[in-house]
Amino acid sequence: MPIKHENAPSIGKTASCDGYSLPASRRNLRDRLPKTGFNTLKSLGIALWFMFLTFPIMVIKVSPLEKTIEWRWSRLVYVGAGAFSLSMLWRFLIYRMEAGTSFKKPLQERLSLFFQRKKSRKATALAAAFIFAALFPFIFSTYQTSIMISALMYVMLGLGLNIVVGLAGLLDLGYVAFYAAGAYCYALLNHHFGVGFWTALPLAGAIAAVMGIFLGFPVLRLRGDYLAIVTLGFGEIIRLVLENWNEFSFGPSGIAGIDRPWDFGLGFTLRGHTIYLFYIVCLLVLLTMVVVSRLRNSRIGRAWIALREDEIACEAMGIDKTRTKLTAFALGATWAGFGGCLLAAKTTFINPASFTFMESAIILSIVVLGGMGSISGVILGAFILILMPEYLRAFSEYRMLAFGAAMVIIMVFRPQGLISATRKRYEFPEEKREGEKP
């Protein structure tokens, strides 16, 4: 068997697991790092490669109509210099990561230790977060608050999808269909019958859930990636129907003038409405967090995780596969329905363009990037993915470029997501632990 160089780092990883061998693993690391001269040469090669790679698209700009060519040679120099330095950095980070000396893992451990050591610390942190959230709309502008509402809505959507993907392990690429169902539910009810937000919210959830079950029945016997593409197809079908069935959904022009949540007749200004909506979203996010964390450590939640880990063993434990999958699907969909209803109330205008596949991809990315199955991970993922493009508006046109790159980079250096899920520890009286010695 050809033992390749890449296999070596995993040895270093196990070695550094017990705290004592850390210096040894550092030494290994240094031994493994190729000599600086070689490194430079390699980066030089990579720089040349990228100059070649980006040459036509970066350097040449043609206008086929005017039949002119513009040569932008200076860009080649930037690419070369950029690729050289980035490749040095990239390789260094990969070596570090494979040697198990990545800097983020200890951070997460240290943080969780910090909170475990004293219960009061957790309470303090929660209280601080609570006060911050309560004051947020008064400290920041309406614009900022509105962005925050989006981010929180995505937290909700992410947590909902987390049930389906993170817990039950069903790769759903058509989550946006349920989001659309919720949004159109409120928009249409409001448009035709003047139904208010608070009445529509549970209805939106219910309709999405029913749709989840309806879709789930035929497709849940599909395995992994087949399920993914069918749900993707389903999401696209829903969007296309919304786009083309003018009598029902008003087509691409969408529905405008949707009522904001009722203001108790106080006559809120725009700012007032935004603040009000902010609190509604905060409340819903809080509710979602409670629900998801309770479900996760319940009989149903364990069945979901068991299903994700091993379907055959799961059934052998007496778990009904179909029913368990359907509950996950329906619950996930419910939250998408809530999210859609909120979206309609926030923007007061919806059209099919808000429900493209990209939306599903972003929500899925929130879940995976944050850390599948982990609630705080999903929250962090949503804030990064939704706030980053907003605050990168300064770089306007480069923001989506950076966004895509960030997704790749986070996955490469943190494959299990930013925050890895931990399972609940159950507490027992010590004497019970004294099982027989194996």
């Binding site: 629900v291 309770r294 479900l295 319940s298 009989r299 149903i300 939640g301 364990r302 069945a303 995780i305 068991a306 880990e309 091993d310 055959i312 063993a313 799961c314 059934e315 052998a316 434990m317 007496g318 778990i319 009904d320 596969k321 509950t327 619950l331 399972r423 609940k424 520890r425 159950y426 027992f428 019970k432 632990r433 004294e434 099982g435 027989e436 010695k437 194996p438």
Partner: protein
């Protein structure tokens, strides 16, 4: 089916394409018995388990069970979880634990079909649901203690050593409160002292009123604990009887050792 039996299999046949993995197999397990199913590699032992637990759908044959205090029931064509719910639990030859869960949670999953709490109960954390959760945890814990894993409840299942993983699978199966336990090579890959431990564990489980059907290659273990033995070879039942009867059977010796040992 008389009242002393828990499992009666008649004429069980299973084909995989052209390969006949089981041919007209008859097998009985009596109440409180330990029955061993042995045979060379590829004889169809695991396939037999898979048919009973509905992982595979057999081509022909009847599988009838009789849970204690209940009427006999045919289990052909049931869903796997329904079979478990009726009281048959199994372990797997290639350990199939829920790797990312803790040891205790693995066993708690086994309680699924004996508990009822639903989504609403979990979300509102009702008194009933909490009580059930507590009871589930205690039960799971007592199962862990029974197989000697009480002090490792919080570890990740995948981090247990091999022998402990096998015992965890047994604890998980026991959590479903079976009347018949199917063990697929429980002592595979264990050292002699672990095997002895397994011997004692299996006997103890039987003493608690669970019948056991056991696949095992370790003849010392099989001979010492089984009441009766069935021998499969290429899907055919070639012998059955008490350990002494089977040990002296020339067809069995031939199947295990090959033609040259005919004499």
């Amino acid at each position: 089916m008389d009242g002393d039996q828990v499992l009666q299999v008649r004429g069980l046949t299973m084909d995989f394409g052209g390969l006949r993995a089981l041919a007209e197999v008859d097998l009985d397990v009596g109440r409180n018995e330990i029955v061993a199913l042995i045979g060379p590699n590829g004889a169809g032992k695991t396939t037999f388990f898979n048919c009973i637990t509905s992982v595979h759908d057999p081509d022909r044959g009847d599988m009838i069970i009789q849970p204690p205090g209940k009427a006999p029931q045919r289990i052909n064509g049931l869903k796997p979880n329904a079979v478990t719910e009726l009281g048959i639990a199994r372990t797997f030859q290639n350990i199939r634990l829920f790797k990312d869960m803790t040891v205790l949670e693995n066993v708690m999953v086994g309680r699924h079909c004996r508990t009822r709490a639903g989504i609403a109960g979990a979300i509102f954390s009702t008194k009933q649901a909490r009580a059930e959760e507590r009871a589930c945890m205690d039960f799971a814990f007592s199962m862990l203690a029974k197989v000697g894993l009480g002090n490792r409840a919080d570890e990740k299942a995948s981090e247990l050593p091999y022998g402990a993983q096998r015992r965890l699978e047994i604890a998980r199966a026991l959590a479903t409160e079976p009347f018949l336990l199917l063990l697929d090579e429980p002592a595979a890959g264990m050292n002699p002292s672990e095997t002895d431990e397994m011997d004692r564990l299996v006997s103890r489980i039987r003493e608690e009123g669970v019948s056991i059907l056991l696949i095992e290659h370790d003849m010392k273990l099989v001979m010492s604990i089984s009441d009766r033995i069935y021998v499969l070879d290429y899907g055919n039942l070639i012998a059955s009887g008490t350990p002494q009867e089977v040990a002296g059977n020339s067809r069995v010796i031939k199947a295990y050792l090959g033609e040259s040992f005919d004499a």
